[in-house]
C-alpha cells in the first residue's frame, strides 16, 4: 500500500513540498536578517523599548525594512486550504472519476484497509507540511509579535496549532466532497469555499467568545489619552469606547455630542471629558490567553474534520460509492 499511495499522490506531495520549501527558505533567510536586529532577542527588547533607545531603533528598522514582508504574510492564510484540499480532493474523487475504484477495491486489500491507509498517509502529509511551514512562519514573526502581540488576525491565524487544524479541516471537506461529488475539481472548490466561510465566521464571531473578556475602566486623563486604553499592547482589544461617571457606556453618538460641546465651549477635549468624569473602557482578552484560544480553535476545526472523515468512512463502509 505504501508504494501505491506514494505512486498515486507523489505529484501533489512533490509540488506542495516544493512550494513549502521555497517559501520556507525565503522566510528563513529574511527572518535571520530580521532576528539579527535584536541581539538580545526580540522579546526582551520589546520590554525595554520604552527606555532603551537601541531597541526602539531596532523596531523602527524592522518596520521599515521588513514591514512589507509582514504584509505579504496575509497570503499565507490560504496555505492550509491549499495543502489540505489539494491532498484530500483526489483521494476518492480521482478513483471515482477514472473508474479505478472498481480496480482498487476488487484486489485483495479490503476497502476499509485501503481507505484507512490512504487517510492516515495523506492526513499525515497534510499535518507535516502545514506544521513545518507554520513552525518557520511562527519563528519569522517573533520580532513582529514582540511588538504587536499574537492576537491579531495576521498572527493568531498563521501561528501555533491552528494552521494544521485548518489544513485537516480542508482535507476533510475536500475528501468528503470528493466522495459525494465524485469529481476532484469541484471538490477542491467546495473545500476552498467552506474554508473561507468557516474561517471568517469562526474568526469574527466565535473566537472572541471562547472566554469571557476582561474590562478595564479608567477616567480620561487631563493630559490626554491613548487610542487604546489597554493595559498591555499584546492584549486583544475587542471593543473600546467611553463611559460616563456611573460607568454607563456611551454610544458613539453621545460621545460625538460631547466632542461638539467641547468645541463649542472652546475647551480642550480631554479637560472637558475629565471634568465630567468621563471614563475610557476597553474590553479585551489578555495576551496570556493565546495558547488557550489556540487550543480551543484547533479543537473546533479538528472536531469538524473528524465528523467529515467519519462521513467518508461511513459511505465507503456502507458501499454507497
Amino acid at each position: 500500500m505504501t508504494w501505491l499511495i506514494w505512486r498515486q499522490h507523489r505529484t501533489e506531495v512533490c509540488v506542495l513540498g516544493l512550494l513549502v520549501g521555497m517559501f520556507g527558505i525565503a522566510l528563513l533567510v529574511l527572518g535571520t536578517q530580521a532576528h539579527e536586529l535584536f541581539p538580545g532577542g526580540p522579546a526582551r527588547c520589546a520590554g525595554e523599548a520604552g527606555m532603551n533607545e537601541a531597541c526602539a531603533a531596532s523596531f523602527r528598522r524592522l518596520d521599515e525594512e521588513y514591514g512589507y514582508v509582514e504584509n505579504l504574510l496575509a497570503a499565507f492564510y490560504l496555505v492550509p486550504v491549499v495543502i489540505g484540499a489539494f491532498l484530500g480532493a483526489p483521494l476518492l474523487a480521482r478513483e471515482l472519476e477514472d473508474g479505478t475504484w472498481q480496480l482498487a477495491w476488487t484486489q485483495a486489500v479490503p476497502r476499509m484497509r485501503w481507505l484507512a491507509a490512504k487517510l492516515v498517509a495523506l492526513a499525515g502529509v497534510t499535518v507535516a507540511l502545514t506544521g513545518m511551514f507554520t513552525a518557520v512562519l511562527t519563528w519569522f514573526r517573533q520580532p513582529f509579535d514582540a511588538w504587536e502581540g499574537r492576537f491579531q488576525y495576521d498572527a493568531f491565524d498563521l501561528e501555533g496549532l491552528v494552521p494544521p487544524a485548518y489544513a485537516l479541516f480542508a482535507f476533510g471537506v475536500a475528501t468528503a466532497a470528493g466522495a459525494i461529488l465524485r469529481r476532484s475539481l469541484p471538490a477542491f472548490g467546495v473545500a476552498f469555499g467552506a474554508f473561507l466561510a468557516a474561517r471568517m465566521s469562526v474568526g469574527l464571531l466565535a473566537r472572541p467568545a471562547y472566554a469571557t473578556p476582561l474590562t478595564t475602566m479608567e477616567p480620561v486623563g487631563v493630559g490626554g489619552s491613548t487610542d487604546r486604553p489597554v493595559p498591555g499592547f499584546a492584549d486583544w482589544m475587542i471593543e473600546h469606547g467611553y463611559a460616563d461617571a456611573t460607568g454607563r457606556r456611551l454610544s458613539w453618538t453621545e460621545y460625538y455630542e460631547l466632542e461638539d460641546a467641547a468645541n463649542r465651549a472652546g475647551t480642550n477635549l480631554n479637560q472637558f471629558l475629565h471634568a465630567r468624569g468621563i471614563q475610557q473602557f476597553g474590553v479585551y482578552h489578555p495576551a496570556d490567553r493565546f495558547w488557550t484560544f489556540q487550543l480551543i480553535e484547533a479543537a473546533l476545526f479538528l472536531a469538524v474534520a473528524a465528523v467529515l472523515i467519519g462521513v467518508v468512512v461511513w459511505r465507503v463502509r456502507r458501499r454507497m460509492i
Partner: protein, 299 residues
C-alpha cells in the same frame, strides 16, 4: 465441497438507487466451472448485478454468496478468489504497464507476476509504456492480464468487448477462452451482444428491466424450446405448453414454446430455435412478474 459447487448464489437480491430499483428479486444459482453469460439490453441491471457479485455494492435486499461466502464480509481471502474487469477496463492511466503489475503484486495475496508478464510479452505489449497511451484493445488486455494473474476462482467481466474493434474483440476472447481452458476458473461476463455467445458460453442468464427472465444451461434451454409454425390462430394455445411468444403474420402463427408438444391440429411443424432468437423473444416480453407466469400473446 457442496458449498462451493455454486460459483454464485443470490437469494432475492435487489438493489435500489435513489432513482429506483435497478435490480429486483434476483435469485440465481450458477454452477462453478464453465462460462456464464449475462445478457440484457442497456440499463437492464447487468452492471449492478456484477458489482454486487464482486462486492463493490451492497444489496438493498437479499444475499449474495460467491464461492460459498457472503461477499459483504470481504476479507483478503475471499477478495483474492474473485477477479473483476470493470466496464471500459479502467487502469491507472499514468502508471506504466510494469507499475500496473507492481500494483497487482502489492495488493494481492497470490499474484502471479510471471504469468502476467508472459501474457503481455506474447501480445507484444511493452512494460515501460504508460497505460493511458496504449490502444483500447491493449488496455483491455493489460486489465485482463492483471485479473488473471490474481489466479481467481471466479472471473467477472463487465461488457469486456463492448468497446473493442472486431480484431481486438476476437483477440480478447481468444485469450479469455485460453485461460478458461488452462485452469478451473469460472467466468461470468455480461454482454448486450447475443451472437457469438453460443460458441463461448455454457450457461445463460437473461436480465431485463432489473429482473431475471431466463436462466439455465444453454444446451438444455435450446432443447427445451422450439418454434411451432402453423396456420394463423389465436385459440388452442394452451395445448402448446408455455408460450413464450406468439407472432402472427397474415396466414401463419409462429409460437415459441417451452416444453410444448406439437398441436394435434393439422399443418403444425416444429423447428429448433436459435439462441439469439430465444434471447430476443425473452427480452421482448414485458417484465411484470405476473407476465412471467401467464402465457402472453403478442401481436
Amino acid at each position: 465441497m457442496t458449498a462451493t459447487e455454486f460459483a454464485l448464489r443470490t437469494d432475492g437480491v435487489g438493489k435500489r438507487y435513489r432513482k429506483g430499483w435497478a435490480l429486483r428479486d434476483c435469485t440465481l444459482a450458477l454452477p462453478a466451472g464453465g462460462v456464464i453469460a449475462l445478457v440484457g439490453p442497456n440499463g437492464a441491471g447487468k452492471t449492478t448485478l456484477l458489482r454486487l457479485v464482486v462486492g463493490l455494492l451492497a444489496p438493498s435486499t437479499g444475499t449474495v454468496e460467491v464461492l460459498g461466502h457472503d461477499v459483504t464480509a470481504s476479507t483478503p481471502q475471499t477478495l483474492s478468489r474473485v477477479g473483476f474487469l470493470a466496464q471500459d477496463h479502467p487502469l491507472y492511466k499514468r502508471f506504466t504497464v510494469a507499475e500496473m503489475l507492481r500494483f497487482g503484486r502489492a495488493c494481492n495475496l497470490r499474484f502471479d507476476q510471471g504469468l502476467a508478464e508472459r501474457r503481455l510479452a506474447k501480445l507484444g505489449i511493452p512494460l515501460d509504456r504508460r497505460a493511458g497511451t496504449l490502444s483500447g484493445g491493449q488496455q483491455a488486455q493489460v486489465a485482463l492480464a492483471l485479473a488473471l494473474a490474481k489466479r481467481p476462482d471466479l472471473l467477472v467481466l463487465d461488457e469486456p468487448v463492448a468497446s473493442l474493434d472486431p480484431l481486438a474483440r476476437h483477440e480478447f476472447l481468444q485469450v479469455l477462452m485460453g485461460a478458461v481452458a488452462e485452469g478451473g476458473v469460472t467466468v461470468l461476463f455480461s454482454s448486450h451482444v447475443v451472437h457469438e455467445l453460443e460458441r463461448v458460453c455454457d450457461h445463460l442468464v437473461v436480465l431485463n428491466n432489473g429482473r431475471v427472465t431466463l436462466t439455465g444451461d444453454i444446451d438444455t434451454l435450446l432443447a427445451e424450446h422450439r418454434l411451432l409454425v402453423g396456420p394463423r390462430t389465436a385459440t388452442d394455445l394452451d395445448r402448446a405448453g408455455t408460450v413464450v411468444e406468439a407472432v402472427h403474420s397474415d396466414r401463419h402463427t409462429t409460437l415459441l414454446v417451452r416444453d410444448g408438444a406439437i398441436p394435434a391440429a393439422p399443418g403444425w411443424q416444429a423447428q429448433p430455435v436459435a439462441l439469439e432468437d430465444l434471447v430476443l423473444a425473452y427480452l421482448r416480453r414485458p417484465s411484470e412478474p405476473s407476465a412471467a407466469v401467464t402465457p402472453e400473446v403478442a401481436a
